[in-house]
Amino acid sequence: MSHVTRETLAAAAKRDLEAILQRGKPLTPKERLAIVPQEMPTQDPQVRRRTMSEVALGYTAEQSRLESLRCLQCRNAPCVEGCPVRIDIPAFVKAAGEGDIQAAIGIIKRNSLLPSVCGRVCPQETQCQENCTVGKALKDTAKAVAVGRIERFVADWEREQGKALPPSVKPETGRKVAVIGTGPASITVAADVRREGHQVVMFEAFHKPGGVMVYGIPEFRLPKRIVEAEISALQAMGVEVRTNFVIGRTRKLRDLLDKDGFDAAFVGTGAGLPKFMGIEGENLVGVFSANEYLTRVNLMKAHDFERADTPIFRSRVVAVLGGGNVAMDAARTAVRLGAEAVHIVYRRTEKEMPARIEEVGHAKEEGVIFHLLENAKRIVGDEQGLVTGMECLRYELGEPDASGRRRPVEVKGSEFIMPVDTVIVAIGNDSNPLIPRTTGGLQVTKWGNIIVDDTGKTSIDRIYAGGDIVLGAATVILAMGEGRRAAASINALLKG
């Protein structure tokens, strides 16, 4: 696929929009379906392979309006059903189509707190856009109304215009809530609880707040200034953020409630314990968890060889194990750090890959090589303990398993060695055991996820939890939905 420049896309959109506006009469559904789906302008793949700056450049004003006009305004709004936080999608898209960006963002913000983030990282193709009537009519989910891109445009517009006012805060109630973690679930809880006039203190173990949005998701997918703006907005509401503070160690969770005067606590510490394959050679030098690799670059800025003190392994040939968004992020980061070849090794096929289609596409455009139906058997190294290669096995698809996906079955005797000097393991995360281990009476599943009831409450009174620590590794939007629910419960608790 050849790269189309932003200028070309902008000019085409401008021309098409003017033609529609000049007619001065409402569009028929057939005409709406005939509007060209607006492509997301991106940096040229050859250029972006060497820079950390954001790949997707965002719609122009005309593109946003034009794309919004493709919406049929279905009465039953199937898109809303697909949205974990039930944004009134037809309403905000309608406003965006009329060019009333302020109204559009206002509608989104009734349900979502992080539209700039979600517009970028939500898996829309399996949520709102999967159900879109336009996509169905055109027999292609990729041709559904690009709800996420419009959301991103209106949210960015608001921020860039300096019009993002913090939500108003009710008079102080004198009640105090601790929020553990500063990722998406925690940000949501902090905002919703603070709005009701309760004092909120957020605790972050790292030196910068934002959780996975800061250490995990790379700059080229989610610029850090956006996350900083969200945190600044919380602080402007009066939320206090304490960094370098690890609950369970710097202070026990129960002590916050029993000794420090907090009335309730929310645990949103995420799924932060990287899984490994458990294969031979996994502790050789040159094998990293995706968490480590990405944190070195995103949080510690190791890609800035001149200024950063944190080193990063200088790889020539990299294999990334896994097929999710994190695997794509790690592979694309390795490309940007100058690796000669980057391979994704995934034991199923592309159809089963949990990564967003767009991310898989971007990775391919940037030259990442995909090895499907293959998996690592062991990692081999030299006498200094450095990785020299990875022994792989080929797979074929067998009968469907419990997840409904066809189970990959290994092909006997298909072993082969892939010469690599770096292996990045991106097969998911378990939940971090620090809080359950240091909080007596906190019930967890056998996988270590905190058990909550349908109000988000844990087995301990006044302690709530949500996000990946409850769900297992999931998405920003699901974490936000969890946060909303817990915040509502906390607010109800403190009211009584």
Binding site: R159, G162, K163, A164, P166, V169, A205, H207, K208, P209, Y215, R225, E228, I231, S232, A233, Q235, A236, G238, E240, V241, R242, T243, N244, F245, V246, R249, T250, R251, G272, L273, P274, F276, G278, E282, N283, L284, V285, G286, F288, S289, N291, E292, T295, R296, L299, M300, K301, D304, R307, A308, D309, T310, P311, F313, Q384, G385, N432, P433, L434
Partner: protein, 308 residues
Amino acid sequence: MNAPPFPAIIPGYYRYSYRLILMNRILSKTQLSDDVFMMKVEAPLIARERLPGQFIILQINNDFGERIPLTIADADAEQGWIAIIFQTVGRTTHLLAEKNVGDTIESVLGPLGHPTHIERVGTVVCVGGGIGVAPLHPIVKGMKAAGNRVIVIMGARTKSLLIMEEQMRALADELIICTDDGSCGRKALVTEPLKEICGREPKPACVVAIGPPIMMKFCAEATRPFGVRTLVSLNTIMIDGTGMCGGCRVTVGGETKFVCVDGPEFDGHKVDFDNMMKRLKAYRRQEEHAHEQCHLEQAARQKGAAVA
């Protein structure tokens, strides 16, 4: 506190609110040898919670600085300070050594890791090599307070590199000093007296060894034939220190463990030291370059100061 007037976007704005809470001010600084320093740092929250065996993670510059694990040599919960002892080996420790009393450290996180399991077991041998004596100090204190008889073996290359000798002498029931060159105490490696003590009747109940990996490896080998339980405290490469990155993983008894959340103490007889030592060298080339750069910059600064 009133909410500040809303700034739409002020990059880095959020940094200022927490500095007020956690200043991490340096209260005292002592140079223990050519490249070893001790600092007392104001850290009331860590001082309150920390127990022997735990460590901190420190960072000088929140934008481009590295996060490094450092052991806690001492602490006072009443006065709200912790003491750290460090050797200038990388960029962060060099920058830290240039700081003075009254300066602050941007990030100090802790206390991290499992505390040492301390109980009355009888005779405990505590072996410290180089600056490994620093984290050993609170363990010796704790073991002593629990009612154990504590034998301390301290080792260093030469006399000038021995640290905390006085403190150890005050605590230990028996203190054995070894230097490689014989400039102080016995001219021997720490494993020599360790083997002798393990041969005594009754055998010591437990050995705690902290120091360079190679020393811990040979301490474990020394005690193995005697079947004396031997704890080692590992100091590996780390980023977050809370279990998130897995950079600190080691092989213990054939299983992968994270030093930050499963450790830092492990059964020395089960640790794969060879793998650990190889992993510690992962960034050797970049580290050597950074070290060289540090000294060049330092020299340039001193030259500049002399000219001015």
